[in-house]
Subunit: 345 residues, 4 copies
């Protein structure tokens, strides 16, 4: 009954099993094994593109390494002020880029908007005195649980590319966004102009596995060196590759995300009936931001449910996250408890 995040879970059984199967035999280290090479190819196939793919174990590594090949040390990366790269990585982008600056493009829906980017890019040029615009980072699904449509993405990437910027997508919840959109992985990424996708698996059933998918191959040239010197090249790479192998088998990754999203929808639908419930954002993936009356929140806490009271707003705003293995019964129990405490009032 833990709705804190989609990283409080263990791993999907299929992925765990794949690790066991990958254990046999001596294999070349550092990713030169056949399993890894095959899996890199599979990932590129999923995106219908001859992309360069690199495996790492954490989302922070995937994001920061990606940004490091998109921006010089004196560059600026535009992002939403709530972006994971800005708020939750303890300065990893600055570390990996050698000091680039993250510049905020605020909005109410957790997404970067093309018009805000245009305003920022149209600001007077200060020449050498100011950091140079280099990249835009989008989070899909966003930290607000909202999802960019391919058209929204294209609106941003067209502008960015026209001005010489590259576009990064933090896809820690890419699977959740994709099943919400119902389009193809290619349509949601490079066909809409994305240059690098951080294709997350850790939050959707893997133990620890992220794939950096580089569509703009020129950006891949230095990646391998940067990964190594950051300590993110695994000697027994087979164990990262095996996770992705299972993740892609028979659409497992999509099924897991579909389940998580369905649970979020079920939870949101149920909570909509609670008097005083106000949703901060539309529920488009597997995150819900909902304001509930304090007695309801207390009732849920007393009932043993775990979740975050989101900072600000008198802590009446909750973030509820569902995962690949969220139990339907737990969702229903959550709703029932909420309704019960609302009624009491």
């Amino acid at each position: 009954m833990n709705f804190c995040s989609d990283n409080v879970t263990g791993a999907a059984p299929e992925i765990l099993a794949a690790i066991g199967e990958a254990n046999a035999g001596s294999l070349p280290a550092y990713g030169d094994d056949a399993l890894t090479l095959r899996v890199l190819g599979r990932i590129a196939e999923v995106f219908e593109r001859d992309a360069d793919v690199f495996l790492v174990a954490t989302g922070t590594a995937a994001n920061a390494l990606s940004l490091s090949v998109m921006t010089p040390p004196y560059g600026a990366v535009f992002c939403h002020p709530d972006a994971h790269i800005e708020c939750d990585e303890c300065g990893a982008p600055e570390f990996f880029t050698g000091g680039a600056k993250l510049v905020h493009l605020p909005s109410n829906d957790g997404k970067v908007h093309a018009d805000a980017l245009r305003t920022a890019l149209d600001a007077p040029d200060h020449g050498v005195h100011h950091v140079q615009s280099a990249a835009v980072s989008l989070t899909q699904a966003s930290e607000a649980g909202t999802v960019y449509s391919p058209d929204e993405i294209a609106g941003i990437t067209d502008l960015a590319h026209a001005r010489g910027l590259k576009v990064h997508m933090d896809g820690a919840r890419f699977a959740n966004a994709l099943v919400s959109l119902g389009c193809s992985p290619a349509e949601a990424t490079w066909k809409a102009g994305i240059d690098i996708l951080c294709f997350g698996a850790s939050k959707n059933g893997a133990l620890a596995a992220e794939a950096v998918v580089i569509f703009d191959k020129a950006l891949a040239e230095t990646f391998a060196y940067r990964r190594k010197r950051a300590g993110h090249l695994f000697s027994k790479m087979r164990f990262l590759a095996a996770q992705f192998d299972a993740y892609l088998n028979d659409g497992l990754w999509l099924h897991l995300a579909e389940h998580a999203n369905a649970m979020a929808e079920r939870l949101a639908d149920g909570l909509a009936a609670v008097p005083g419930a106000t949703f901060r954002h539309p529920v488009q993936a597997n995150e819900i931001f909902v304001e509930l009356p304090e007695p309801v929140i207390r009732g849920l806490e007393a009932g043993g449910f775990q979740f975050y009271r989101w900072p600000g707003d008198g802590a009446k705003l909750l973030r509820l996250v569902t995962a690949f293995n969220t139990n339907e019964a737990d969702v229903d129990a959550f709703v029932d408890t909420a309704l019960r405490h609302a009624v009491k009032k």
Copy 2:
């Protein structure tokens, strides 16, 4: 029949099983779970010391993060020229420290020697013009397969501490060194003056797990932030912790290392009978550096054995590494093949 390295292996079954067992249930992320906290305590207990312990997944991360808390950006780290931190981490120490310099202390046996360190420290002071001596890094077992005795370590750490330097031990093969020494983990580390040990498991049966054991607790203050911003804080930390849990159970880590060392000894003993075989270094852990006649080497290669011809010396020098799961029959076959081709000559 792969003697290339101890990272071409999979994982020990006990460690793999522990990962499966750790999968159940929702747990706090980022290491706040009970399993991780318990395992950190167990590691400290193994070293009989109230140490601060941090888990990461790669040796490069462990080493570079450790050095980053020991040296300022304008510092110097003394090490053997063949040290992994110098040769095999693509500049990770420089990256994590913000530009510190690795200064070579050469020797013939792969080890740093106290007298070489003294000479370096006694060199005239160039004040602000030169990087400042900050740390010494020892590899145990060394890249030459040799092992520092506690007395040798103490000779170095006494000198280092007297001059205000900290001492790091790269223990990627710490277990192999320890069973070779036959002393306690404490005697081989902090009792001999080590400030931080990178306690490796990946090369000795884990999938990907290293523990940074900080004996000088003042060095631990900033470690958690540095680990996070380097992308090395795992959300599902349970899976790193589980590996160490199994590693320590019933002395598994020592048994695995004992086996690897025994196989190395068996292999070395066998090769000693090959005419023309010359050992470059005493075989003290699980690495053998042996010069063999070219026909013998070719015979081994033709026989399907995998190993590295070590750079330099006309490639007649081989490095042979045994592992926790090296097969006795493979060792014997290796020796037999070598002998057979030597006889022919």
Copy 3:
């Protein structure tokens, strides 16, 4: 008739002369000469404090080096969004600190306010996931031409110190602020809680000279190494020292700033009579931000006056900066021209 900035000027004759006088003879390099040592002492005396003083040639170097001893690479520095360190140093603070983040505390008057700082510091703690609050940077006089009172400063530094933060003052226009305040250098700095002052001379009559005055001596420990490795240690330090020597002689620095401020006041008083003139900020030092009717601006431009149309606001906002050598006749001509074009309308 150039009102673009106080760095379009040459140097004060007294300072130029001092450079000539310092030319004679062979002297120890890198600041070990008697002149430099004497000047460092004089600067400390001006501040009535046993401070550690370091000379550099540019304000960016002074600021970035100062911040580098106040914040770890994973730290946050609070500043006004218009601060020079944020807008005009091409990421120097990020470079020198190894990637620290500048966090905005906006306001309408160009100054950081204690309540904004408190709100930021009271935000929920994200632990290791977020950069750690480390320092506050104030610009005195601010980029808006406004001046912090000692009480305002103390309000900020009390709060900062209570939370473990250090406080930096960018004093590129410190002299202008000080003569505006009418208090002592000590009262405007360490007595109000400032830990490091970048004591500017370049904008107030020097060729290129800034003194980093470190009141919190613990922050000085690593400064000399950082200055050297950033290429900011001059071999012929005498030429930086000589500038400060003359700067402090007979209160030259204060007289120069008094003149600049008086010219700003005269200019502001004159412009106040122009119909449609609106002052954005009170004129407290040597910078004026004034909105003027477009015909007036065009008339001034046609009249050969040089100044910046400030970005935003349809470019009707002008920044006018007076300097140590601004000509009274030029000021009067500026006002006359403005009035003439206003009358025409």
Copy 4:
């Protein structure tokens, strides 16, 4: 009577005068003034090449910025172990490059040799595990006072370029080397394959001025941003430009170097007559490395002469440096004193 270094001097009168002349009037800041633009062109003309030129104030800044555009953070820069960038810049190259590694190519004459470079480049490739060869740095004149011939330079640059490396020349004493060679500036640099020259003036009569002359213009693209964020862009750039203006007028820079070299030759010739004097290196520019009997050294010290006893070798090795303003009488007095004390023995 100070032979410690060529940075213990003041400035040449012509250069000092030029600073005074540049003082008049208001000029655009940050190098957009006509004087600076003209001087940049003059420097390019001296080298008969459409080079990109950037002015900074210190040699460390010039060198480190140059290396930062030649090597990625995971790169290796080959240099002599005694190179200024390795020994005397407190890690500036590592700082500016984001952590590149300096790799030693030792020799007895202070110079990098092509065959040593070839051996290093022919070493087995470790792929992503090792830093990547990126640049070679030559010091002209070298730290041993020796001078590379154009042919020697070409031998190195041909090899470097064939392997994809760039070549940097630390020309802190470029003028001394050039007059020693008797060739043109172009022949000593880009015609021999140099990609970037740090063209020093500070050690040859300037107050503080160095020009980075970028012959390979692709390397210039990011230089301006890197200079700014390192705090090395001067607002009153006219004062750096004026120094170079005078430096180039009527061949002043060559005359100053000719004098320094002549004084070194005179000094060396005189000392050759001292019994027991042994020259470590041929005297080819303005530095002498000579071993003298201890009584002679003591006599010189007692006579008030200042110089360095060079580290190592029982401190009997002296480094003697002459400068643009070294007095012939002082040279003769030095020799006389040496002879007198030698005779006594």
